[in-house]
């Protein structure tokens, strides 16, 4: 374990940015986003969640995949993909780091998405342990440990010191480059970190969503959940804006479209949302014709379908972004709570 004092952090960021592009949580117009670091950037390690999750780095909101030139009846296919250079994302929280594993199971499954894979390989992930989890946090529902956030390098900030622990080969390579700026952490530091972690766990245990359980969705009857009348009530407020899917670190639905630039046809893919009415619309009709079905699809996918295909892993990491951002205050917690109540009722009836 290494440590570095706050006054030397800019030097560390500069050193990293010399060999790789460095992205960090940066304040922009009063909000915190992952942005490219430069000397004027206002780095904000104190904010828990960035507006958009770091999935953007691997699965960008929009990216060109191929281009075409058409002349008469002839078409030429121009394979050109956006270049990806080695880069570092510094300050990813445990929940967002876990979300990448969920995306990996989609994009790195055969046939592999090489656009995603290239970026994934080029990235070195430096995580940042949480010091002050908030009321909207429920990562513990997914057995995510916010004080041991993983990644290639894990970091902890206690007062004015950043502790640095390299965990993978990629992490070791980067650490070699910047080692000179660090001091070695001693026994006293280890103890400090230990008690800090313990303190955070105490805060966590007092947060309102710590008891949230998804048992109601585990080994459940998929069709019984699907056909539940509760979806009608839950979806009633949903306006289909798609904000939840865009800020969600695990949502990964996409669209592929063409754009005429004037001298060629650019084919790009972009984020899409199962909450939108045209998501499944075909020329002969739409199998999900109202918002109930679209709303249900999003939660069924996260809580039932994805786990069924992925050894019980839910496609949610409890980051809490949807709780903060949904304009009608509907979110996965309310869905889970509804089934919790249902389960409690069932148990009562059985008795």
């Amino acid at each position: 374990m290494l440590k570095i004092y706050k006054n030397k952090w800019p030097e560390l960021f500069f050193k990293i940015s010399c060999s790789r592009e460095l992205y960090m949580p940066i304040e922009k117009d009063g909000q915190i986003w992952f942005g490219k670091w430069n000397e004027d950037a206002k780095v904000r390690f104190d904010e828990l969640n960035t507006v958009k999750s770091p999935k953007d780095f691997f699965f960008p909101q929009s990216e060109n995949i191929v281009a075409f030139k058409a002349k008469g009846k002839n078409i030429s296919i121009l394979e050109k993909r956006d270049e990806s250079q080695p880069f570092v994302v510094f300050g990813i929280r445990a929940c967002d780091a876990e979300s990448l594993k969920i995306l990996d199971r989609i994009f790195l499954a055969e046939p592999i998405d090489t656009f995603y894979k290239t970026r994934r390989e080029n990235a070195t992930i430096i995580t940042l342990a949480c010091s002050e989890p908030e009321e909207t946090c429920f990562c513990s529902t997914f057995e995510i440990d916010p004080v041991n956030p993983g990644g290639d390098i894990a970091t902890w900030i206690i007062d004015d010191v950043l502790y640095w622990q390299s965990l993978t080969k990629k992490g070791h390579t980067l650490t070699e480059d910047v080692k000179g700026l660090f001091e070695k952490a001693d026994q006293q530091d280890e103890e400090k970190i230990y008690s800090h972690k313990k303190g955070v766990k105490v805060i966590l245990s007092k947060l309102p969503l710590q008891d949230l359980s998804l048992e109601g969705f585990k080994n459940g009857n998929m069709l019984a959940i699907f056909n539940s009348p509760k979806w009608r009530e839950l979806s009633q407020a949903c306006i289909g804006c798609g904000t939840c899917t865009f800020i969600c670190p695990t949502c990964h639905c996409y669209d592929i479209r063409d754009y005429d630039t004037g001298h060629e046809i650019q084919r790009f893919r972009c984020w899409d949302s199962c909450m939108y009415s045209d998501f499944t619309r075909m020329s002969h009709g739409n199998p999900r014709h109202s918002q109930i079905e679209r709303f249900r699809q999003r939660f069924m996918h996260k809580l039932v379908y994805y786990p069924a295909n992925n050894e019980g892993v839910f496609a949610c990491v409890g980051c809490g972004r949807c709780i903060l951002k949904c304009p009608v205050s509907m979110n996965i917690v309310k869905v889970a709570r509804t089934w919790e109540a249902n389960k409690a009722l069932e148990v009562k009836n059985d008795e």
Binding site: I65, V66, K73, L100, L108, K117, I256, M282, Q297, Y305
Partner: protein, 292 residues
């Protein structure tokens, strides 16, 4: 200790497929366009060096596109026994298909695939008496299987084909049905149209009713494709005749973009129609939410 999924070991595993990217299409050339009905045309497509663009099995699909217009999934209607070209029967019903109906021979298009599981022609269907039931353009994906079974005639039992359309003008492959399918050994073809029509001496009525009327033996394997309502009613008719769900196959159609089970569009329950389908046995469909 937490390790990212994409750790050093995984990178090695993935490197083997480094160059493969399935979202990037290949070039196809339209070499023939046949007008089947007032709104269905069959397009013959070859690769730039001639021959098929890729190998496939009956029931699999391909993503066809006119750059700038759109890209969509179509079933490959020619059998894989034909290595000279691929055929797609396409009904004019949306933006891309309208465009395709306007192109001339020689037009280049883009193509990627094959996608989907296809029909189990070498396993579940082999050695069986086959009952094909199709409505309208629904015969397109079944044609590949029918022609495959006719090519390897000795591998399959009797073949019955029930096919219906709105009118006599809307029956696809009529010439091929009369000149090839009807005269093949142990093949029976039953045609029907929805309403009476001048000059039509054949059966009149909806496909599901005709299936019941024909009262088929229940030892066959049925393969059904057509508009959703026709499929639903035909399944009911077959069950009334005594067919079990595990004797019936069908092929589904949903909106698709990637074709590889990632973009999320054709997700029904735990399945992705583009990857796990489009061919499903009906007892498998029963396990899925009814969203098709």
């Amino acid at each position: 200790m937490n390790r990212t999924y994409c750790d050093d070991n995984m990178q090695e595993v993935h490197r083997r497929n480094w160059t493969h990217e399935t979202l990037i299409p290949k070039l196809g050339i339209v070499t023939d366009i046949r007008i089947d009905t007032p709104d269905i045309k069959t397009f013959r497509v070859i690769g730039p060096d001639g021959g098929v663009c890729f190998s496939y099995i009956p029931g699999q699909c391909a993503m066809l596109s006119i750059p700038g217009v759109g890209e969509a999934m179509f079933s490959i209607t020619s059998p894989p026994t034909n290595k000279d070209y691929m055929e797609f029967s396409i009904k004019k019903c949306g933006c891309l298909t309208e465009w395709l109906h306007q192109i001339d021979v020689g037009q280049q298009i883009t193509i990627r695939g094959p996608y989907g599981n296809g029909f189990p022609v070498e396993t579940d269907l082999k050695g069986k008496d086959l009952l094909f039931i199709a409505g309208g353009i629904g015969l397109a994906p079944l044609r590949s299987v029918i022609k495959y079974a006719l090519h390897y005639r000795e591998n399959y039992g009797n073949i019955d084909i029930v096919y219906g359309a709105r009118s006599a003008y809307d029956l696809v492959y009529l010439r091929e049905i009369q000149n090839e399918w009807r005269i093949a050994p142990n093949v029976n073809v039953y045609l029907t149209i929805d309403r009476e029509q001048e000059g039509w001496t054949g059966h009149v009525g909806f496909v599901p009713d005709y299936v019941k009327e024909l009262n088929f033996e229940t030892d066959k394997t049925a393969i059904v494709c057509g508009p959703p309502i026709m499929i639903k009613l035909t399944l009911k008719a077959l069950e009334e005749l005594g067919y079990k769900k595990n004797q019936i196959f069908t092929t589904l159609e949903l909106k698709m973009k990637c074709g590889i089970g990632k973009c999320g569009r054709c997700n029904i329950g735990t399945k992705y129609v583009c990857k796990d389908g489009p061919v499903f046995r009906c007892d498998q469909l029963e396990q899925l939410p009814e969203e098709f």
